[in-house]
Assembly symmetry: C2
Homo-oligomer: 310 residues x 2
Amino acid sequence: MADAPLYQRLALIGIGLIGSSIARAAKKHGLVGEIVCADASAAVRAKALELGIVAAAHADAAAAANGADLVIVCTPLGTYPAIAEAIAGAVQPGATVSDVGSCKAGVFRDLGNALPKSVHFIPGHPVAGTENSGPESGFAELFDNKWFILTPAADVDAAALEKLKTFWGRMGSKVELMDAQHHDLVLAITSHVPHLIAYNIVATADDLQTVTKSEVIKYSAGGFRDFTRIAASDPTMWRDVFLNNKDAVLEMLGRFNEDLAALQRAIRWGDGDALFNLFTRTRAIRRQIIDAGQEVSTPDFGRHGKPPST
Amino acid sequence: MADAPLYQRLALIGIGLIGSSIARAAKKHGLVGEIVCADASAAVRAKALELGIVAAAHADAAAAANGADLVIVCTPLGTYPAIAEAIAGAVQPGATVSDVGSCKAGVFRDLGNALPKSVHFIPGHPVAGTENSGPESGFAELFDNKWFILTPAADVDAAALEKLKTFWGRMGSKVELMDAQHHDLVLAITSHVPHLIAYNIVATADDLQTVTKSEVIKYSAGGFRDFTRIAASDPTMWRDVFLNNKDAVLEMLGRFNEDLAALQRAIRWGDGDALFNLFTRTRAIRRQIIDAGQEVSTPDFGRHGKPPST
């Protein structure tokens, strides 16, 4: 006998890469009775209906949230205050409201505090994604074996939390609980600063006069192209990440800059030992990431499309 | 009828990732009569013989170069002066000596100038590689559809150049000619600075106290792990790259730092428009790299191991 759905009605506010992947995965795993969505874009709503991943697509977030026992906000962080205002009067008592934003400390202020006390607000963050955007880019396996971090407040309802943990576990994710402030510090170094650096070097390369853009593109296989993947991520989402996690990003960026200044000095003064020692240390980290199952060990990300022959 | 070999005897000085890949590809495409190698490491020599990719493996570079009509130096740039001294008396008149080093301006000084005038010195650089090292990591397809840049001097022998171009073309590469100084500037931005930045952020993350190393590894899928691939590249090779291309790297790094300071300021002052505009511009570059056939368009480098379902 198939398990009964965990939630009767899931409302996804925003149906882009993440929202549409949640819809696909929740349907695949039989976790919800019905899925509806809201999206500000008429083209995106039409696409979501065409893909058959939602039963209804509303322009108005309140219309989608109305009658749902699980609401997940899947829009850029900058939209949260307006969404909070829109859905506060529509969410039914006892419902759970969650999100998938990349910064967690600010969501209590921007989303949770505006909701009635009868609603369980439990912020979340899937450490998963691709560089593509839009409902056509989503897929049901996006969360498989990926971490999902929940950052509940201390006074969270235990039963509502347990149910949401079960939901994400059955979506394929490995679920962790974390303090919201600590989450933002961890993600600043594992995600936000790497994205910033990638955006920055791609822009630097784009601005050169001595080396043409076509040369940058032609010879990008030398290393540069690895950065372009994450520098192709959604601009609105990432603008909001940096505006929302300013302190942690600036702190980590300060450390990055100090370390880079030391490397720059080693190059200028020809200090080969300093370079060699640092380059040896960093090699070990990748091994640990592969051993932890967070990366594939295929050379060159398996871009060659086949295993090396001998 | 199979084509006759282009060269009778290929001597590879150094039989690591690149040297062993050349051996495999040259054999696969029937480009040489015989392949011998030299390597300073007894373990590497034994491995190369065990893999059956060379007919003989010498400790002494001169012994390998002796009697070869094509010698390709495949060792870190810092070894070039000693190798030049070792092989200068052994290379036969009319032979071609080339290399695969990542910086080209310095190789005339460190390698070419020590060779007799009867030898054709033609520097080269395959824009190909993986993060792995050693003869066991090489494979015959490494150069397929990759750029190979030759940086000959103005007075190069036309026939010798044409023959080496043919050799690399039949190895699977797309061959380009470039001025050595310009090569070093192009590679500084497309390869050397990206590697430096990757090494640096991995080291910064490794040094944190507020975020544990296990957290960095656990949540690396948020972007960080993309940097670890190139930060796992061979430390000796990369030390020598930075010591050999100091001026171009410091110039490009200066521009990178200026741009990063502007981004940092935009974050500090909450200038969302500046962030959004830059993030939009960088997205277009990746599209161009994919269109140019220099990257796969599979989301997330195809790490999911299967195409997205709908």
